[in-house]
């Protein structure tokens, strides 16, 4: 973790309604692993406005790449950032996805900017699997080539059916899982490993499947952040440890990636 004044090297439309921000951030880039995030001070906001968290889309070559969508005050102000500007960035933050894997078969399930950290993970993971991308409509789907270039199969679901299967991403996921492995046995479904990143409802659905199938599941939960470093205790998530004890974990420290078995749903608010 470090705080770096970084230079904006690129700032472009990306696809799916997202913008790509490329930052020269040698220190942060060298430490980052997929699933971690950065905390950015957005120029032009009130001096007391909080930093905004963004997943690391890619890190390497002294660069950190982000994908973001303008949804509110902070992200709209980010639109005004120009190449050559300096931003104050803290990162990498949080616990990312595990990077040591057994011989499980990885399934990525992503919605919205959830594709960003999973694309990063696909690049660095030695094994290949299937990436399930879901969205409302075809124009909201992006990063497909990222996964394909990394040797992954991509399955798309859109709610309006304009791309891939029609329906929720869990639909294509279920179809795939059902057909996976030995059709008579099915015990090898436990060899699947789930990685989810996206809206809460989707993550719960993914977590439920992992648990039901006795699979390992990793879910990246986005909690509202204050400090981003573990000090303010704003970003907490209810978790259950191996003994069954329930406590709060910090989304920015113990998360954003949680073991699906730990997550206690719906008791946060």
């Amino acid at each position: 973790m470090q705080i770096e004044d970084v230079t904006v090297e690129k700032h472009d439309d990306f696809g799916g309604g997202y913008r790509l921000l490329v930052l020269r951030a040698p220190g942060i880039a060298s430490e980052s692993v997929p699933g971690q995030f950065v905390h950015i001070r957005v120029p032009g906001l009130y001096e007391s406005d909080l930093r905004r968290p963004f997943s690391i889309y890619h890190a390497g070559n002294d660069q950190v790449r982000l994908l973001y969508k303008a949804v509110g005050t902070g992200t709209n102000a980010m639109l005004k950032v120009a190449v050559g500007d300096t931003l104050s960035v803290i990162g990498p933050l949080g616990r990312g996805f595990p990077t040591d894997h057994g011989d499980t078969f990885p399934l990525f399930i992503a919605g919205g900017y959830g594709v960003a950290p999973l694309s990063f993970l696909a690049q660095v993971m030695p094994c290949k699997g299937v990436a399930f991308l879901g969205a409302g409509t075809a124009s909201d789907i992006f990063c497909v080539e990222d996964f394909e270039r990394a040797g992954w199969e991509v399955k798309v679901a859109t709610e309006d059916g304009s791309m891939g299967s029609k329906g929720l991403v869990t639909g294509v996921l279920d179809d795939f899982v059902e057909g996976y492995g030995d059709p008579t046995g099915g015990s090898d479904k436990a060899a699947l490993e789930y990685y989810g990143c996206g809206p809460g409802g989707m993550l719960k659905a993914v977590g439920d499947r992992a648990l039901a199938q006795g699979c390992q599941g990793w879910l990246s939960l986005d909690r509202h952040m204050g400090c981003g470093v573990g000090a303010c205790l704003a970003c907490v998530q209810k978790v259950r440890n191996a003994d069954g004890d329930v406590s709060w974990a910090r989304g920015c420290r113990e998360g954003p990636v949680f073991d699906a078995r730990e997550v206690v749903w719906g008791d946060n608010e």
């Binding site: 001070r41 007391s48 909080l50 303010c232 205790l233 406590s247 709060w248």
Partner: protein, 309 residues
């Protein structure tokens, strides 16, 4: 008056606790020490104030716990924490490795609980002072109620006083009409210093759902929005007591801190600003030093309460 070549004396004495410079961090905004340690050298701080501790581990409120609003934040974290034993075990070894006095912010659901935590911390190596949070607006029992009733404030401080020899620093609530009364009560009951202000009770409602945005419904406003309120209260309190004041509330930069010291604060704490720029305390230290040099003060103490009225 110093000549330009000598550095001004930055140290201040907060009720027996010597701070090497007048800048600390506000409880709850800097964790227990390790959280910001990779970004900020704790040894540079005049003191380290940790998040509120009570006898037992405590969950705090449901989420959302923190939102931003015009000119500040509203939080209803609700004082989650590991409890006094958890704190001592988990964090004190780390803190003892540093060369910074540790002030533990404490609270309880009853007077007894305040006394219990105070006593328990009294002989813990590395604990230098206790800040008594009698003014947190975000918990149902205790908290703000102790700090807005002068009789309860007096009882609470007297009890804690009887159970510890550590310097005690009650932390005052801003939502009172006569801050002088509370400052006097604190001094009269044996406090070594006071700190002020805690967050200001506030609320935000989502007009689409018509629900309070914070899970706890109400929270405490902090940040620039409360700065001018804090300056006024510190100025008033300083006019009636002799014990030192640790001032806080919306300090975003050196100027804000210097203003508070001129109003009467012997030391200052940076809170909300840490979230936005963790280097704020260190910048503030530098800015105070520069100001002292520029204005030919030999000591930070000369600034305290120097307002010309």
């Amino acid at each position: 008056m110093s000549d330009a070549t000598t550095q001004p004396d930055m140290s201040v004495n907060i009720g027996g606790l010597i701070m090497k410079n007048p800048v600390t961090v506000a409880s709850g905004t800097f964790g227990y020490g390790p959280e910001y340690a990779e970004l900020v050298d704790l040894n540079q701080l005049g003191a380290m104030v940790v998040k509120g501790i009570m006898p037992d581990a405590w969950e705090g409120n449901k989420t959302p716990r923190l939102i931003h609003t015009d000119g500040g934040l509203i939080n209803a974290i609700g004082l989650p924490g590991p409890g006094v034993e958890g704190f001592i075990e988990t964090y004190m070894p780390f803190l003892r490795q540093h060369d910074v006095p540790v002030i533990v912010n404490i609270w309880g659901r009853s007077l007894e609980e305040y006394g219990d935590v105070a006593e328990r911390l009294s002989d813990v190596e590395g604990v230098h002072a206790l800040e008594l949070n009698i003014s947190c607006p975000n918990i149902k029992k205790g908290g703000n109620q102790f700090g807005t009733d002068a009789t309860m404030t007096a009882d609470l401080i007297s009890l804690v006083r009887s159970r510890t020899k550590l310097p005690i620093i009650p932390k005052l609530a801003p939502n009172v009409s006569d801050i002088k009364l509370f400052a006097r009560v604190c001094e009269g009951c044996g406090s070594d210093a006071i700190s002020m202000i805690n967050s200001m009770p506030a609320m935000a409602i989502d007009i689409e759902t018509r629900r309070p945005i914070l899970a706890n419904k109400v929270g405490g406003l902090t940040g620039p929005a409360v700065h001018a309120i804090a300056v006024k209260l510190i100025w008033e309190a300083a006019s009636v007591i002799k014990i030192p004041i640790i001032g806080m509330g919306g300090i975003m930069n050196g100027d804000d801190a210097i203003e508070m010291m001129i109003a009467g604060a012997s030391a200052v704490a940076v809170g909300t600003a840490n979230f936005i720029d963790p280097s704020t305390p260190v910048r503030v230290i530098q800015d105070i030093q520069d100001y002292l040099i520029r204005h030919n003060y030999s000591s930070a103490k000369d600034l305290v309460g120097s307002v010309v009225v």
